[in-house]
Symmetry: C2
DNA sequence: TAGGTTCTTGACCATGGAGTCAACTTTTCT
DNA sequence: AGAAAAGTTGACTCCATGGTCAAGAACCTA
């Protein structure tokens, strides 16, 4: 987790950095399951180097996932934390998570656990989850979100989006967002059945 | 499309039927992308026989998809056609399609087009689509479904489910169904914003 | 700049699935 | 029964991907 496992030689340090950058690029545009050969090509090194430096695909992911996703999730928690209204908090959280999932396909690999477990990631997911559960409870107590929506449901609402984005990625961001509104509306309290 | 391309020898006819049955079984439980070796094993023949008889994976799928999915979709259209209320028609159609997607993973491969295009299937999908669009229009004209829901949106609502089922298949049918209710509620007209 | 050390390479192994085909087996017809 | 036609087999090729490692290249230090 900390620092001084840097390689000794200058070329090696250069390579590590290059691989990190390339991985960010490639993962961002094609998800965390992209063949490592592609990352290698983008970084101008051989696949062997990646394995030598990062041990495995998972090692590489661990090395970039923070910059790729973790910071964004923390950002969402921070921004939503500033809001006052319970409904706005709940909806804004979901909306921002869903948009993150659209903007960063890699986020889905993380949330959906399509990849080897990584401790920091699990922690992050749990933290986000707890945060979401808090928002849900508050919104339900304020009477603005339907009470038959469970924490599990909220989890699913987010996981689902991941699957959707991967499978129906061709939809425009605007359409995607517009459809999210339908979803949110279905979660509110006080509808005429 | 028609009939008399049956093999001449009795053993061959027997095999064709056995492969069809095995394919139905295997595709039903593991989706249309299951390795053909598995189908072959289940049918007690060699993979070569499948290729010889059906030409390709796609040929095999074409040969079983009717029994697997097409009839069910036609059934849904028929049942929903009997209903009177526009809202009930629209919601029942979506609900039944969504449940079909849960019950038959293979339906998702069809709807999501994860497989080589097949004419009869394309026709079926289009027919179902037209039917759904009609239901939508009627429901909107009756003022029971929100007017900012487009036919494209309806398509997505169905395609999405396919992706979801594949990715989050572990949820129980009851939970799955309960969550569909949230979704439907978000599509109704006349909510308090 | 020599020589030891650190790094990188790319050929190599393994896995798993799609699809093919020459050799073999079974059925059918007379 | 015997031979020709029809059918089946499974080993084979091809391709993609994950991952390894001995040999050679690049770097750093004295």
């Amino acid at each position: 987790m900390t620092g001084p496992d840097q390689p000794r030689r200058a070329d090696a340090r250069r390579n590590v950095e290059g691989i990190r950058r390339a991985a960010l690029d490639v993962f961002r545009s094609s998800g965390l399951t992209t063949p490592l050969d592609e990352v290698a090509r983008a970084a101008g090194v051989s696949k062997g180097t990646i394995y030598h430096r990062f041990g495995s695909r998972r090692g590489l992911i661990d090395a970039v996932v923070d910059e790729l996703v973790a910071e964004r999730i923390q950002g969402i928690i921070a921004v939503v934390g500033e809001l006052g209204d319970p409904l706005a908090r709940f909806e804004e959280y979901l909306l921002r998570m869903w948009l993150l999932q659209y903007d960063e396909p890699a986020a889905n690999d993380v949330l959906i656990r399509a990849l080897p477990e990584s401790e920091p990631l699990l922690n992050l997911c749990e933290k986000a989850q707890e945060f979401a559960f808090g928002l849900l409870r508050a919104a339900q107590e304020a009477g603005v979100i339907r009470t038959d929506l469970t924490p599990d449901d909220v989890n699913y609402l987010i996981l689902e989006r991941g699957a959707i984005v991967r499978a129906c990625g061709q939809q425009s961001r605007d359409d995607y967002r517009r459809r999210l509104r339908f979803l949110l509306d279905g979660l509110r309290q006080g509808r005429q059945i």
